[in-house]
Amino acid sequence: MNYWNKDIECAPRSEIEALQSYRLANTVRRVYENVAPYRKKMDEAGVRPEDIKSVADLGKLPFTTKQDLRNNYPYGMFAVPTGDVVRIHASSGTTGKQTVVGYTAKDIDIWAECAARALVNIGGTKDDFVHVSYGYGLFTGGLGMHYGAEKLGATAIPASAGNSMRQLEMFRDFGSTIVCMTPSYAISLIEMMEEKGFKKEDFKLKAGLFGAEPWTEEMRRQIEEGLGIKAYDIYGLSEIMGPSVSCECVCQSGMHICEDHFIAEVIDPDTLEVLPAGSQGELVFTCITKEALPLIRYRTRDIATLVYDKCDCGRTLVRMLKPQGRTDDMLIIRGVNVFPSQIESALLSVDEKATNYLLVVDRVNNLDTLEIQLETRPDMFGDNVKTLESYTKKVKAAIDSAIGVGINVKLLEPKTLARSMGKAVRVQDNRAIKNKFEKK
């Protein structure tokens, strides 16, 4: 078994916690001194930096949410002068303002370390060709895995996303051995292979890291079969760092969190109580080495479970099981974060009376589909098809540009959508992985 950093990855829990405690206390002190919104939050909660001495004190600290980042857009939560920031990334979501994150040179180096660990987790070595088909740009996926590959000493192939035919040619001609991409893109490449006459035997691929969107075990089997590889799950979010906050190992039984850099907790999203190990709840991360943007108790909205047992791979780092959904209503459609509220405001900007609608999310041939169903009303109805078609076109254009993902607009007869007595049900997600938190 290979490890990138065995001392940490296989350390006894007591050592991991001691390191976390030391780094947490330092981070909290630094954040209190340098980040005004945190100072305000802690003062309001009546917590002093010196109250935080160990991991056991974590619960005294207030939470951070995406809204805090928006309220302090773009750089208000940074803990270093912008002169020390060497890179910016931004969230893929398009809810009004983007969420902007920053990194110092040391942050980039630690991120590369985490990404290198992820690659070694799945059997990567310096002899591998790491083909990165995540987008390069403000999205963290591309550059995050690229730096990890270079840190490992492997050969990075910065293919970025798109141009599927070229991707397949590069697999074959450049001898790519490890791929990093979204699982849905892998599936669409597999479909294209058949069409273009490629066989998996044409490639030297052996493993892949797939993340940035929810995927199922069924998709894992399809990717493994289609590309002739082992497919592994990788997790990350730009607010905390980017891909490789956690990553599966060859055991494929949960993603090891880089606990020397991030402390993970699971909370009840309603009561905000920390839940005991093994419980399903909302994942919360605290950055303990980040310089530019050390978020404290950041609520990810992802629902997952933490497993502290030692893994068969020998690593002691806690594993998080594949996220089972989200606590907010955010939908992830083809890798893009979509909030139903964005769709509603786009719809109402075209037709302020269009208050009866239903969003239907599905997965057809492994691609997410999004449909909005609208009831017709006498006042939007003439006697010709043209009027209705130009109406649906206008609605589609407004929503498409608001969320950055194509939507299908479907008109229904009046009173066909179910009326609810309480809160209206606006989203129907028919995919295997739901984005709703269902309590046990």
Partner: protein, 142 residues
């Protein structure tokens, strides 16, 4: 001179047309003429009935999206070239026909045509100026 036509929004799926027909049947409405414009997702049923007010009230009471539009109906001899003659005249005046359908005439040797144009008033004038026989609602299919 003009005829009231009812348009009903129907989803393009099994049973929807039957549901509309059932409402009309229950209320004793007699359909004089009908046509359906369809798209992949929905259709628009256009009907001319013996009692427009009663029909529209019944449809709306049942939750249908329905509207009344004025259309023009005229009768032509059932010989080749007859429709071309009339349409040609309308076209010459720069009027656009948005849709047209024919109705099974009950008088042997005649065909009844229903049209909707972008300029109803002008279309009526063109037709009457050219001696085309317009028909009223009660005379349609009689």
């Amino acid at each position: 001179m003009l005829i009231d036509q009812i348009s009903v929004f129907v989803e393009n799926k099994a049973g929807r047309l039957a549901a509309v027909m059932e409402i009309l049947n229950k209320n004793g409405i007699d359909i004089r003429a009908m046509t359906v414009a369809d798209t992949a997702d929905f259709g628009i049923l256009r009907i001319i009935v013996n009692d427009t007010e009663k029909a529209i009230a019944a449809l709306q009471a049942d939750g249908c999206t329905a509207a009344v539009t004025k259309v023009i109906a005229f009768t032509i001899p059932d010989v080749s070239g007859a429709l071309y003659n009339v349409i040609g005249k309308i076209n010459d005046c720069g009027i656009n026909i948005e849709y047209l359908y024919s109705v099974m005439g009950k008088t042997a040797g005649r065909a009844d045509i229903v049209i909707r144009t972008n300029d109803t008033e002008k279309a009526v004038k063109v037709l009457t100026d050219n001696g085309v026989e317009l028909i009223c609602g009660k005379d349609l299919c009689r």
